[in-house]
């Protein structure tokens, strides 16, 4: 368990949040043009990084807003938090 600094509400317990998985997976612009391989890549394939990972989180039991997080998955330390649409901080 760890604390998360929601960009809208401030510091809360992780149990208030819902993890939304890997961030910055771009939705296909033309879904009808996609091959099966590209669909598999978009829907299922994940980097699942051990180390610094970019993620989406939702403050499900709070403001219910989505935001992004940079987190070290090997020790659960949060490196940065930034709002949706903002550029990710450079590593």
């Amino acid at each position: 368990m760890f604390l998360i600094n929601c960009p809208f509400c401030g510091e809360r317990e992780q149990s208030e949040f819902k993890a939304g998985g890997e961030a910055h997976i771009v939705r296909p612009k033309q879904p009808t043009e996609l091959s099966d391989d590209e669909w598999a890549e978009y829907l299922f394939m994940r980097k699942n990084i051990k180390g610094i990972q970019f993620e989406r989180w939702n403050h499900a039991h709070g403001c219910r807003k989505w935001f992004n997080m940079v987190r070290d998955t090997s020790n659960d330390q949060i490196k940065a938090i930034y709002k949706m649409g903002e550029k990710p901080p450079v590593k």
Binding site: M1, E13, Q14, S15, K18, A19, G21, D36, D37, W39, A40, E41, L43, F44, M45, R46, K47, N48, I49, K50, Q53, E55, R71, T73, S74, N75, D76
Partner: protein, 417 residues
């Protein structure tokens, strides 16, 4: 040649104060080259090496393990064995494993303490009842023993369950697989290690894989903390770290690695002689031969390799346990731990070739891999040796995420994720 374990060897060794037992497996230095290298010395990896040597007559095999054998999820799970999965493909896979379990102690000459004490899955709402009845019918069509029990029959089979209808999630019924049960997890790893070692497999511990060397789309070997080892075939059985190995080879897998927790209580006299699982309230419980209650909690919903889970997950499981088994209200918990499980989007495993020649993956077992250990090893060995899947694991290929032919077992996986 290994000395056979028996009552006579036990008596004989008692005279020398058990200090002269033959080593169960060696501590070899890695050779320059192997025919096949298995990455991951857990139950599945050791079983794969064992069946490669035994059934496919390949002797120049190494198992490389980052830590010590059986020190990962093999030693961290709640040891439940069952095969009551919904779909035909899964029923074939898991029941294949269950059939091997039934003769495993004899085959390995190693007591894996396989105990067919039955596994009961409880229903707590109308949808559970429908799902479990459907699954019972599906199981029976596939030749898997399964019965549906009403509330009174559940109570009769496990009297300590609180079946009163005024609890938050009352017990409305359940299924029972009598051939299911538990086994001693460490013994499974040790038994396979001893068997594989006897047939000449090199088990190399404290040897972490740092890279996979490729020549175009063919593997050439692995870089490890003990140097480069050449090989033509690599079988990856790295559980939670499968994606890490895949990334070294430039592959992406449909996996997310998450912490799954379990805990045991202080040891007490026998009180529960079966395994009871509750999907809806997320609590499952059994009692080890040492007398500890073995309790399985859920996964956290975020990716983590830290082998630490969140406290609220344990709290949620224990509150459900206490409502179902008020008798345990003053029980003290002794130990709690986490393991990193690799979860597939359809809650089914991958036992498959990949787009890289000579690279095979056995992963995605998620929250329930222990039960499949012997079958998984057998089928993965077949897949590696023949460069073709066995018919029992053909459906569990990695291309199902492209074709869309998924094997959705979220219902039978029994751990919500």
């Amino acid at each position: 040649m290994k000395n056979k374990y028996s009552i006579f060897s036990l008596i004989k060794n008692a005279f020398s104060y058990h200090e002269n037992w033959q080593k169960a497996w060696g501590d070899p230095k890695p050779k320059k080259e192997y025919d096949i290298i298995i990455i991951g010395g857990g139950g599945h990896g050791l079983a794969t090496a064992y069946y490669l040597a035994k059934k496919h007559d390949i002797k120049n095999i190494a198992v490389v393990e980052k830590g010590w054998i059986g020190g990962g999820n093999t030693g961290r799970n709640t040891t439940i064995i069952r095969s009551n999965y919904l779909w035909d493909a899964s029923a074939g896979l898991y029941d294949h494993a269950l059939k091997i379990w039934e003769g495993l102690s004899q085959e390995l000459n190693y007591n894996v303490m396989f105990s067919q004490r039955g596994v009961m899955n409880l229903a707590h709402n109308l949808q559970d009842v429908r799902d479990l009845k459907r699954r019972t019918h599906a199981n029976r069509l596939n030749g898997i023993d399964a019965v549906y029990l009403n509330t009174e029959e559940v109570k009769k089979f496990c009297p300590i369950i609180n079946t009163s209808q005024d609890i938050r999630y009352p017990v409305l019924g359940g299924t029972l697989q009598r051939r299911a049960g538990t086994a001693r997890h460490d013994a499974v790893a040790w038994g396979y290690a001893r068997g594989a070692d006897e047939m000449g497999v090199d088990i190399i511990q404290n040897c972490e894989v740092k890279g996979i060397k490729r020549n175009g789309d063919t593997v050439e070997g692995i870089e490890t903390t003990k140097g480069f080892i050449k090989t033509k075939k690599i079988g990856v059985v790295a559980a939670g770290h499968s994606s890490v190995i895949a990334n070294m080879a430039g592959l992406k897998l449909p996996l997310e690695s998450k912490p799954l927790q379990a805990l045991v209580s202080e040891p007490v006299k026998p009180i529960i002689d079966t395994v009871v699982m509750s999907n809806a309230v997320h609590a499952y419980i059994s009692q080890s031969d040492k007398g500890e209650l073995v309790i399985g909690a859920g996964t956290d919903d975020y990716v983590s390799y830290s082998q630490k889970g969140s406290h609220d997950i344990v709290e949620g499981t224990l509150s459900a346990i206490l409502e179902l088994y008020p008798i345990f209200s003053r029980m003290r918990m002794l130990r709690q731990w986490g393991g990193i499980v690799d979860i597939c989007p359809d809650a089914s495993p991958i036992i498959s070739k990949t787009s890289i020649k000579g690279l095979y993956f056995n992963c995605g077992w998620g929250t329930g891999g222990f039960k499949a250990t012997p079958g998984s090893g057998d089928l993965f060995a077949h897949t590696i040796a023949n460069d073709e899947p066995h018919k029992l694991n053909a459906a569990f290929n990695i291309n199902r995420f492209v074709s869309g032919d998924l094997v959705d077992e979220h219902g039978a996986a029994a751990v919500a994720h």
